[in-house]
């Protein structure tokens, strides 16, 4: 008998839960509408652009390569700090962009530094300039 009573109470509880669920759904809907009002991550697009430009500059202007990477990392750290300061203001999902930008910037920075070191090594060991020049001349600029 006690068992049945428990079942009954469970049923009523589940019914109540059902009502609660409905209420919760309404609440989540309202919270979703509130989420749209939240601010995106500060400088998210800029961090992404700078992180990817870091590798482009590593190609074209080797000396400038680490600058964009460093700027992107600093901006990412700053935006993360602001997010930790007031979490309710910013939308958490937009910080994926910041993190990808940061990883891209770190990879670009490392790659740029390695490329600079490699070019310096090659420049310092210039014994076979003629061999290197062949490809340049053959292509006719």
């Amino acid at each position: 008998m006690e068992y049945n009573d428990e079942q009954k109470t469970n049923e009523t509880a589940s019914e109540n839960r059902g009502f609660d669920m409905g209420d919760n759904n309404k609440q989540t809907q309202t919270s979703c509408s509130r989420k749209e009002l939240k601010l995106p991550a500060p400088n998210a697009n800029l961090i992404l652009i700078f992180g990817i430009i870091s590798i482009l500059t590593a190609c074209c202007v080797t000396v400038l390569a680490p600058i964009f990477g460093i700027i992107a990392i600093i901006l990412a750290v700053k935006s993360k700090k602001e997010f930790n300061r007031n979490r309710d203001l910013y939308d958490e999902n937009t910080f994926e962009k910041v993190e990808t930008g940061k990883t891209c910037a770190i990879i670009g920075l490392i790659a740029g530094i390695i490329l600079i070191i490699v070019t310096l090594i090659i420049v310092s060991n210039l014994n076979s300039v003629d061999v290197i020049d062949i490809s340049w001349d053959r292509l006719g600029y």
Partner: protein, 95 residues
Amino acid sequence: MFLEWLEHHLLTCPIKYFYGVDCPGCGMQRSIIELLKGNIWDSIQLYPPLIPLIMLMILLVINIKIHSGTWLKVLKAFFIADVIIIFINYIFKFL
């Protein structure tokens, strides 16, 4: 007309100018001109990482317009692939 003007006004690489050695981006301008002419194979031969870099730029624009986790993952994968291609290209120039 425009392409001819471009061909006569290429920027010289400072590393190439001062030291006589190719930098990691040497060949990109010639490759872009070949691509604008429509010779895709020539542009790949001149500078292999150009087309992946252009695709990376397109992905960057898509990521700025749309926000989604999958596109960001694709962007990151392309970025790493581009870095590897650039390194391989630069190492193979001197081998």
